[in-house]
Each structure stands twice: as structure tokens, then as C-alpha cells.
Symmetry: C2
Subunit: 350 residues, 2 copies
């Protein structure tokens, strides 16, 4: 159905074109349908909501009329009246350079929101203000029906605030709070554990891991998995000092280059991110060290990037797109009504 058809329908429906400018396209509303069918606006509204008090025949007639003129409810009006926004807010730190991290998640989220009335609004969180500000803002001003955020901390104030106010949300990552809360997380313990075992199996004698910043819960998970593996094997290890996965990639490379020139340097590296893995490779290359022989590497893979990286690097995959999908689905479920918390938790395994 073309735009022109719709205009025609709109005009035909209005018997008295009083103030209507010729050719002006007027958006169909409930009133339009009411005039078409000779019913009251209220009836049309109820009919479209499929209320059982409205005669079945009327409901069908109304639905048909609505379809004919391509009626879509006005979101602003619905929102004003009902208080529901039909918006899911994704809080993103636009300074995060994390390669494709957000993109993958957005892909999964939009997939989950497909064919629902929900829109995805990206709410930036600029790091010069407290993390909790956008959350408070969204809650206080009813900017969304649900919130999604990432980079969860052990005693994350955002989680506390949202739980206290019973506001629907899903976060990427877990807290260490006593009360259970909704989340989608990746098993970073398992990642680090498996990565360490792979390196050991391949013959590495001393392991090193570059961790996320300490303030994030998943840094602890990774460390724990790493420590468990090295302790089990009684192998040498160290944890990269002064740099994290959030450091500028040049800084990571500089650190590694420096470290590789020192005695007792590790020969097995674990990287929780693709860019830092490339930095390891660059540092080794600049030292003339052979990857897979002098130095070994296991990286977390979140995109197709490492399929093209040579020499080939062992990777463990984290599906961020699926994480987004899960977060979207769980959030919609939570918004629809009260759900036991454990049904709103998902852990992606290695």
C-alpha cells in the first residue's frame, strides 16, 4: 500500500473536509477510524485492544478499518496516558573503544526487540559524571520501561538502586551482592581457566594474563579462573601490572615489549580482548619472537577478526550478539510482569 493510497483513504473517511487543506496528508488516528465505522473513539480503542466486552463482529470491523488506512497508535499519546514508554534504554559509554563490543550487543538487542512495540534508545554515559546518573535520570523521568547496562561492578550502585525501586533491568555481568539480581554474563572464570590449560597443554612454562580493570566483577572471575588453573598445575605465573584490557593498545604493547626483554618473562599469554591480543603479537614480533614457539597466546574472540590473523592464534569465543539477544528477551519478560529472579539470569558457558 502506497502513501498516496493512504491519503485517499484518509480523505474518504472524513465526510466534512472543513479545515483540511487539499492534498495534506493527515495521520490516521482513532478518531479517523471512529468516523469511518460510525463508532465512538472509545469503542475503537477497546476494540483494537481486543476487549471481550466489544462484540466480536465490531472488533473485526474495526481491525479491518485500521488495517485499511494503516493506522498505528501514536506513541506519545499512549505514553502520556499509560506511563509506558515502549522504550528500552541501553546505557553506553561512548568513550569505550572496545572493538565492536557495542555493535554486536546492539545487533542482538534489536533482534530481540523485533516485532515488539519496543524501541532501543542509546543513552550515553559520559565518564565525567557518576555511572549512576543516567540510571537515576531514566528512572525519575520515566524515560524507559527497562534498562540495560554493562561492565557491572561487585557492589554496583546501579544494581542496588534499580532493585530498590523494582525497576526492570538486565545488566551484563554479575555483582557480588547478597540479593540475587537479573543478569546475563559470560563465564569468564571458565574462559581464563580453559585458556590457561590450553597454554599449559601446549607447553608454556610461565603464564601471564592481562585483566580488565579491578573494579569490574569479571576481572575477579578471570583472575580466579586463571589462579585455579596455575595452582592446579603448580606452574609459574604473573598478572600484568600497570595495564588492563582498557588501557590504550599502544600502552599494552609497550608494557609487553618491555616485559619480554626482561628475565623470567612469561611464555604464555592470556588476553581477554582482541586488541590486547594483537598487542601481544606485536610486542613478540618486535622482539623477533616466534608466536606458537617462543611465545604462546590464547585470546578471547568476540568477532570474526581473528579468523584472518596470522599466525593463527588459539581463541575462545564469546557470543556478544547472543548476549544482547538474551538480555533483550529477559528484559521484555521482566517488563511483562513479575518473574522470579532466577529466571532472569543467564550464564553463557565457554
Amino acid at each position: 500500500m502506497s502513501l498516496e493510497d493512504l491519503e485517499d483513504e484518509g480523505r474518504r473517511a472524513k465526510p466534512e473536509p472543513v479545515t483540511e487543506r487539499a492534498g495534506a496528508y493527515t495521520k490516521p488516528t482513532l478518531k479517523t477510524i471512529a468516523e469511518m465505522t460510525g463508532l465512538a473513539v472509545t469503542t475503537v480503542s477497546r476494540a483494537l485492544a481486543d476487549a471481550p466486552q466489544i462484540a466480536l463482529e465490531t472488533r473485526l470491523r474495526v481491525r479491518q478499518a485500521a488495517e485499511q488506512i494503516g493506522y498505528l497508535p501514536d506513541r506519545a499519546a499512549q505514553r502520556l496516558r499509560t506511563g509506558r514508554t515502549n522504550v528500552i534504554s541501553l546505557i553506553l559509554d561512548p568513550h569505550e573503544e572496545i572493538l565492536g563490543y557495542a555493535t554486536s550487543m546492539i545487533r542482538g538487542l534489536t533482534e530481540a526487540l523485533r516485532r515488539t512495540p519496543y524501541h532501543l534508545v542509546v543513552t550515553p554515559h559520559f565518564s565525567d559524571t557518576p555511572q549512576i546518573d543516567p540510571v537515576r535520570h531514566i528512572m525519575r523521568n520515566r524515560m524507559a520501561d527497562g534498562i540495560i547496562f554493562t561492565r557491572t561492578e561487585p557492589s554496583d550502585p546501579r544494581v542496588k538502586l534499580l532493585m530498590e525501586n523494582n525497576f526492570p533491568f538486565i545488566c551484563h555481568g554479575r555483582t557480588e551482592l547478597a540479593t540475587a539480581h537479573p543478569y546475563v554474563d559470560y563465564d569468564n572464570y571458565g574462559f581464563a581457566y580453559q585458556a590457561a590449560r590450553k597454554l599449559i597443554d601446549a607447553g608454556a612454562k610461565k603464564l601471564s594474563i592481562i585483566l580488565p580493570p579491578e573494579r569490574f566483577t569479571f576481572a575477579h572471575h578471570m583472575r580466579h579462573g586463571f589462579m585455579t588453573a596455575v595452582r592446579e598445575e603448580g606452574i609459574g605465573f604473573e598478572i600484568a601490572r600497570g595495564v588492563t584490557l582498557d588501557s590504550k593498545s599502544d600502552d599494552i604493547r609497550d608494557y609487553l615489549y618491555h616485559r619480554m626483554g626482561e628475565p623470567e618473562c612469561p611464555d604464555g599469554f592470556i588476553c581477554g580482548g582482541e586488541v590486547s591480543a594483537l598487542a601481544v603479537m606485536a610486542a613478540a614480533y618486535d622482539h623477533g619472537l616466534a608466536l606458537g614457539k617462543d611465545v604462546r597466546l590464547v585470546a578471547k574472540q568476540t568477532s570474526g577478526l581473528f579468523d584472518q590473523v596470522r599466525p593463527r592464534v588459539e581463541t575462545i569465543y564469546e557470543d556478544l550478539s547472543e548476549a544482547g539477544l538474551l538480555m533483550g528477551r529477559l528484559l521484555l519478560k521482566r517488563i511483562a510482569g513479575p518473574v522470579p529472579v532466577h529466571e532472569l539470569q543467564a550464564l553463557q558457558t565457554v
Copy 2:
């Protein structure tokens, strides 16, 4: 100011707590301020709009009261009344795997929208429906005040539709339409031209370029820049057949691997994307060809990725974050009022 303070203010303002549940936080509205100041709702509205008919003293008093209770206008109500949505819609194809492409642009966009009342809404366009659908939908249902989209085509129907309806938009990339339209674009002609010259200067004897899909305008620009350079130098060349920058990276690598095993293979490659550049490197590696000696490469860089890639690769930078910033600024300017089209065009130079 804490949430509790706000509640207190809210209650203090209401002299008769009739239906108000104790402790329930009620969002401040114009009415709240009206009751606080003893003015009419209309006056408060006009005062906050800084209308000159309202006495300066009143304006100040109202503004102070608003600040005190942390008043923020209800977007749904404003939208319903004024028809303005305060929303910028970014149309994204969530199936695009383009690494960080969207993220960079979103970063720039959110920066441009910062401290404005505008929100960024990501509108997915699933490739199983016509490209124009989301545009039409946004226009017909007034879902946004302005639209941003990417991957512009020579006679892009989206541009036509938006121009016909005088709807504010900026697209990333240009059309070849007769009528000028707003855009932000990167000089891909210059990119390909410079890339070719770099390769020739480095001693390459036969050049190859991997182009974007033909339907996008920037594919033509790239080809043109490429052809101009090779013609000027009278050097051998070819254009990758059967694969584009949108192909799966494995397919690109397979194509290149195959090509590198044939006679008269190019020894200089131009890649308009980071993943495809890695694919070139992988193919060369798998053949045992030395990069920078047997095979040369110039890549377009849109992230910090290639700073860590070894051996070092010559790159030309495209600032997508800046593109997003520009698009945001220009769109806001356009929304604010009519602007000559040439003031809404920006070309990022190489």
C-alpha cells in the same frame, strides 16, 4: 541533590496530600511549580520558555522553583502537543558486521547530541525488507525529527523521499542525483588515489583493489580514484572479482589465496576496510609471501586496530567518529530551521 530531598520538596509543594500515598514519589510537573509559586500552569510554561511577555522577575522565580524540585518537562506530553519528538533516528542494518563502524559513528553522534534535548534512537533495518521502509515509517508516524542513514546509493530512493517531503536528514555518503542534498562523506576518491600512489611509489608493479558492493556510491568513487592513479602511471591493475568489502572475510581470503597462486598476480593491494586488509595479509602469509616485499598493502583505517598489526601496514585514516559528530551537528542545524543545502554538506578529506 538526593532523591529524598526531591521527595520532600514534592510533598511540601502540595498543600493537600489527598490521594498521595505516603512516601510515594510524584514526578514534578508544571502544575507542581504552579502550586509552589501561586501562578497558573500557562504562566509557568511560558516563563520556562523565557517568553518576553512574562515579567523577568517571574521568569527567575519560576526557573528557581523548577531547579529546586528538579523539574524536567515530560517528553511524551511535549511530543503530543507540539509534534516534535526530540528524537534523532539512526538507521542501522544490524547484520552489518562492519567492525566498530557503527560504534564510532554512535560515539560522534552522542557527542553532538550532548546537552541537547535530543535522544538517539537506533532504528534497525533488517535486510529482508526494502531499505526505504524504516524511512517511510519514521516519516509517516513522526517517530523522529531527523534521520541519519548510511551506505548511500547513486539514486538512493531514501534521499528522494526525504527531499520530496522536506524531512530533515543527513546521509553518510553521496548520491548522483541532480538535486543537491545534505550529506557527510569521506573522500573515497582521494583515498583510492592516494593508496594507489603509495603502492606505486613503493615499487608495486600491478595493483588490485577490493571495492564495496557496486550499488553504493562510494564504490564508484573508489574505483574512479583507483583508475585515475593507474592510468596516470600506466601501470597494470585489476579489480577484485566476485568479492566485495561486504563479503565474508573468509571468502575474501579464499579469493585472494587463490588469486595469489595464479600467474600475473598483483603485488599491490588496496583495501577499503580493516578486515579485508587482514584477509590480504592472511592470504599472503598462507602463501609464504613476505608483506612489504613480495606483496604490498594499503588499508583504510577506521580504528586503532592496525597500530598493533605486524608487519606494519601502510594505512589511510577515516575518522568515523568525526563523521558522526558532523552528521549530528548538521542535522540539528537543519532541524532548527531552513538552511541552504550547501551548508549541510561536509566532505572529510584524506
